[in-house]
């Protein structure tokens, strides 16, 4: 049994839902993200939010998987602050949906001033509505700098408790920074970038299993919606206990997500 707390199912086939269910997935959370192209209007995001809050939960339910979501405009589309703020204005009307857990995945992409302005607008929205926050950290060479800038930006919002913020896509050079400042940390399991299942288990061995989770972040790029159960196999193969396996792939995401008051398993 497992939870995949970060997966972009709008980009995956129904067959993937079936395979995930067969592998033991009982619940997922899907952050709003970049579609691979910039939307031409805020109305495009309105339709996307309807897909996340209405259509995907029904598709997942066919396989006994409980679907939840996070809403935002992804940092990749935050370079136009006027456009991005129009999208942010759409979010409150969706917050009444029971499957919406919070704001995400917000953060930075290239660590620009405009991205920081939109990150701050999202954080304000989360603080005003007392919502959980799921944070995307930048790719590759931009990750270390971006992670530090993001944590500083969150610190400027006194109403946001770090224990209600998960900073995702950590790797060996950022995980300690994130945990030491009281945040939760997520490891994303990708074939070429971010963490492999082997490295994720290395990180558990080096940094412990408190306030850490794993996710596939499966999307339209090279990714694997079965990455979480494959990491469970890697842990078992190394001799880790079933309790440890369950903690990182089920208990920890359940603990963090339950703070929303809305997270349910099938």
């Amino acid at each position: 049994m497992y939870i995949d707390p970060h997966v972009h199912m709008v980009s995956r086939t129904t067959d993937d839902y079936q395979r995930m269910a067969l592998a033991g997935c009982v619940a997922i959370t899907e952050p709003a993200f970049w579609a691979g192209y910039d939307r031409s209007s805020p109305q495009g995001f309105f339709d996307y939010f309807r897909q996340l809050t209405d259509f995907e939960p029904k598709r997942a339910a066919q396989y006994g998987i409980r679907h939840h979501t996070w809403l935002c405009i992804n940092p990749k589309e935050a370079e136009d602050p006027v456009f991005a703020k129009e999208v942010i204005k759409l979010i409150p009307q969706f917050l009444k949906c029971e499957s919406v857990l919070g704001i995400g995945e917000i953060g930075l992409n290239k660590n620009s001033r405009n991205e920081l302005e939109i990150l701050d607008a999202h954080l304000t929205l989360a603080a005003e509505h007392n919502l959980l926050v799921l944070v995307h950290t930048p790719h590759l060479e931009d990750k270390l700098k971006g992670t530090k800038l993001i944590m500083d930006a969150i610190r400027n919002h006194a109403r946001l408790d770090p224990s209600r913020v998960l900073i995702d896509h950590v790797e060996e050079h950022t995980v300690r920074h994130v945990l030491d400042r009281g945040f939760w940390a997520g490891m994303t399991l990708y074939p070429d970038t971010k963490c492999t299942p082997q490295r994720a288990v290395d990180i558990f061995e080096m940094h412990g299993t408190e306030r850490l989770w794993i996710n596939s972040a499966g999307d339209w790029g090279q990714s694997d919606p079965l990455a979480v159960p494959k990491t469970q196999i890697e842990m078992k193969a190394r001799g880790h206990t079933l309790e440890s396996v369950r903690k990182v792939s089920f208990d920890n995401p359940l603990q963090f997500l339950s703070q929303s008051g809305r997270f349910r398993i099938a």
């Binding site: 370079e79 290239k110 991205e115 920081l116 060479e141 700098k145 412990g208």
Partner: protein, 97 residues
């Protein structure tokens, strides 16, 4: 401090389990450098090639936490946000490495 725990398996078991996978990756890396050498035109001094060479030196320095240090080697260490993003992508290394 983190609650660090060693892998439950032995050093020998780690080698047995992962050697062939990483033997293949070592050969892939060697073949990549060879491919750059054999190719025509510019590029041998590309910052990404130089970054990989620097990473290889970290692998052989005998010090701990190689993965963290390789990632730091490939990272942007400036602290101020950039004025404006001109691209959405990342290259994987810094030009100054």
């Amino acid at each position: 401090m983190p609650s660090s725990t060693p892998p439950p398996i032995t050093k020998r078991a780690v080698v047995d389990r992962y050697f062939l996978e990483h033997r293949a990756k070592a050969i892939d890396l060697a073949a990549f450098f060879d491919r750059v050498d054999r190719a025509q035109g510019d590029g041998a001094d590309d910052f990404r090639v130089k970054a990989l060479e620097a990473c290889c030196r970290v692998l052989l320095d005998g010090k701990p936490e190689r993965a963290r240090r390789v990632l730091e080697l490939l990272s942007d260490h400036t602290t101020e946000p950039i004025a404006k993003a001109s691209t959405k992508g990342a290259t994987g290394a810094m030009g100054g490495v």
